[in-house]
């Protein structure tokens, strides 16, 4: 019974952690993308001839900004499907 309670506690706290990982990662990525897109629109309005150059940089920087979110999603999936914290429970 105590093992079952321990398992439930670990799974509950892991669920909260997964939500925090994905939620805070998405929040940071959204703020970064918003700032970069507003700067892109600003630059495009000032110098329209620079749009092709800026577009390539924006595409790569979008990938860099989202890198932390993608890594967070991978970590969250690791905790969801192969939780290493469950190894403390005696079998």
């Amino acid at each position: 019974m105590e093992t079952l309670t321990l398992l439930a506690q670990i799974q509950a706290y892991t669920g909260i952690g997964i939500g925090l990982i994905i939620g805070l990662g998405a929040l940071g990525a959204c703020i970064g993308i918003g700032i970069m897109c507003s700067s892109f629109l600003d630059g495009a309005a000032r110098q329209p001839e620079m749009i092709p150059v800026l577009q390539g940089k924006v595409f790569l920087l979008l990938g860099l900004i989202d890198a932390s979110f993608i890594i967070g999603v991978g970590l969250a999936m690791m905790f969801a499907f192969a939780n290493p914290l469950l190894s403390v429970i005696p079998k």
């Binding site: 749009i51 989202d66 969801a80 499907f81 192969a82």
Partner: protein, 153 residues
């Protein structure tokens, strides 16, 4: 008279801006994104292979396969994003931004689905190796910025 001159000047400026924003960009932009993706993909493959060898030397075959799967997932996601940028209609700033955001959405969805499939289907998975390969491959994708810096008109 003065108003007419100013109106003419502003009209010609607007026409100039429209010409600049519509005409020259498409092929150059595709080339720039393709060059950037090629450079980033080259570095991603190098890093993935290096991580695969490191895991093969210091850990197991399953860890090496997991690491290479992480790198491949990031590579396939980036390729899906680049494919989305090829479907664009005009070259205004707003449409460019929408296309880029759609490409990013596609990239994230593809990566998440592939990761989900790997976690569900691969029984001998080493999760830390997978995350390590994925993180290294995603982080090194910024190497394509060097290719954008070499843009020549």
């Amino acid at each position: 008279m003065t108003h007419e001159i100013n109106d003419n000047a502003s009209h010609s400026e607007i026409q100039g801006c429209e010409k600049l924003s519509i005409t020259p960009g498409m092929d150059e932009t595709k080339t720039t994104i393709n060059q950037a993706f090629k450079k980033a993909a080259r570095w991603q493959i190098i890093v993935t292979v290096a991580f695969c060898f490191i895991y093969l030397l210091f850990s197991s075959v399953n860890a090496a396969i997991s690491s290479s799967l992480g790198g491949v997932v990031a590579l396939v996601g980036g390729y899906a994003g680049v494919q989305m940028t090829r479907r664009r209609v005009d070259q205004t700033a707003g449409s460019v931004l929408i296309v880029l955001l759609k490409a990013e959405l596609t990239k994230i969805v593809v990566i998440a689905v592939l990761l989900l499939a790997i976690f569900k289907l691969y029984n001998g998975l080493v999760p830390l190796a997978l995350i390590g390969g994925l993180a290294a491959s995603v982080l090194v994708s910024g190497a394509g910025l060097g290719a954008v810096g070499n843009y020549k008109k």
